[in-house]
């Protein structure tokens, strides 16, 4: 069954390829041993900056291209129900097309892209104009890199190594996943046009305080 649309996969792989290129060029700038080995800092710095600009530009273009489809995906990713909260507390709970961990990873990845862009622009222009230089810009840029690396390692482990989850990679490359795998890991996911015999998923319940009529303030 289809899990990721072509535009979702395009967004993922543009992000992934851009990030890896930026990681490699960034590490050459960051690690003294690699800086010495490559030596051409100005060239690498220019490559790093302009590929970062291109990365964010292409990501923005794909988002515009995706239109309503990606807006719907964003809605899925930003919405957490009771089962998501249970899942995050390491309890068994049925998940939708994205589990709660994938939602957090996607949200942080999007926020980090914005912050990488802001801090990268400040580093670039700050070197040429002191009005754009802040003492903490490099700390923000480096901190983002460390946290992103941590998330990336976990992401790669789950996508490539962990037996229970690595089937998901097929969804992000070819677009579809096995029905039985989806039923097991994403029991609440109900794609349009697909009928699956699955255990009944729990429905979100409105837990806002319910007042009996007698308790309502009288006007």
């Amino acid at each position: 069954m289809a899990r990721f649309s072509p535009v979702e996969r395009l967004l993922h792989w543009v992000n992934a390829l851009g990030f890896f290129f930026l990681l490699v060029t960034g590490l050459i700038l960051y690690l003294p041993s690699l800086s010495t080995l490559v030596s051409r800092r100005q060239t690498i710095q220019g490559l790093h900056f302009w590929s970062g600009v291109g990365w964010l530009g292409v990501l923005a273009a794909v988002v515009l291209l995706g239109g309503r489809r990606l807006i719907a995906t964003a809605r899925e990713l930003e919405t957490f129900d009771a089962d998501d909260m249970l899942w995050l507390r390491r309890r068994r709970a049925p998940q939708g097309r994205f589990n709660a961990g994938q939602k957090i990873n996607a949200v942080l990845t999007a926020a980090f892209a914005v912050l990488f862009g802001i801090s990268g622009l400040l580093l670039w222009f700050g070197e040429q104009d002191t009005r754009f230089r802040f003492a903490s810009t490099v700390i923000l840029h480096d901190g983002l890199m460390y946290v992103s690396l941590f998330l990336l390692v976990g992401h790669l482990y789950l996508a490539l190594i962990h037996p229970a989850t690595r089937h998901a990679l097929r969804g992000m490359t070819l677009g579809d996943v096995r029905v039985e795998w989806a039923m097991k890991h994403h029991a609440k996911w109900e794609p349009e046009g697909v009928t699956v015999d699955r255990p009944r998923a729990r429905q979100p319940v409105d837990m806002r305080p319910q007042l009996a009529d007698a308790d309502r303030p009288r006007r």
């Binding site: 700038l29 960051y30 690690l31 003294p32 041993s33 800086s35 010495t36 030596s39 051409r40 800092r41 100005q42 060239t43 990713l77 930003e78 919405t79 957490f80 129900d81 009771a82 909260m85 249970l86 309890r91 939602k103 957090i104 996607a106 949200v107 942080l108 999007a110 926020a111 980090f112 914005v114 912050l115 802001i118 801090s119 400040l122 580093l123 700050g126 070197e127 040429q128 104009d129 002191t130 230089r133 802040f134 003492a135 903490s136 810009t137 490099v138 700390i139 923000l140 901190g143 983002l144 729990r202 979100p204 319940v205 409105d206 837990m207 806002r208 305080p209 319910q210 009996a212």
Partner: protein, 235 residues
Amino acid sequence: MDAPPVNGEPEQEPRRYGRKLFLATVAGGVTSLYWGKAAWDHVTGVISPVASAVAPILPTGGWRIYTISGHMPDFDPATWRLKIGGLVGQPLSLTYDQLRALPRAEQITTFHCVTGWSVKNVHWAGVRIHDVLATAQPQSSAQALQFVSMEQPYVDYLTVRQASLPDVMLAYEMDGKPLPREHGAPVRLVIPEMYGYKNVKWLAEINLVPELEPGYWEELGYDQDAWVGRSNGYS
């Protein structure tokens, strides 16, 4: 009355926590431009003993290597010379061995980069500038020193008074080893009270000049007097 729990767990309606997380992360990141350095300094101060133990095995050692040209200068002991010229009575051309034969000085100081990072407790060894200049006999009209790097066109200046600060040195060793190439081998200027861009690497010449002039980074808007914490917008 609350909604009945399912499987003993309270239920709630779907919430857009993702949007809040996104906005909070971006807001936290942007505001960290103002508080990040202070927070980081506080954290490293608290975990200082741990940080000291871990630092040697970290790939960066805390340093970032900045260069301005396409090629990091190479050091050849056979051909390298440190030239002392300008307003001096006796121009000099010192070999590496001659420089190392001058009175040795050592110090442990913190290196601060104007971009915000610092490396604490760097162990430098080298020579004091007055020991280098003594033989060259500076003229009384000399008010500043020009430091010329092998990495062209990098150049910077200090006043004679600044260069006479007690912990200013020409360093040829760092942390017990000959100065590595990426740190300016064979000799770099070290002036801990000023940001790194005044600490000229790959030194080739020192010229006595009548007055201070803007160096490479000063031409790009950085402060002439790069006092740590008191220049370049820091206060």
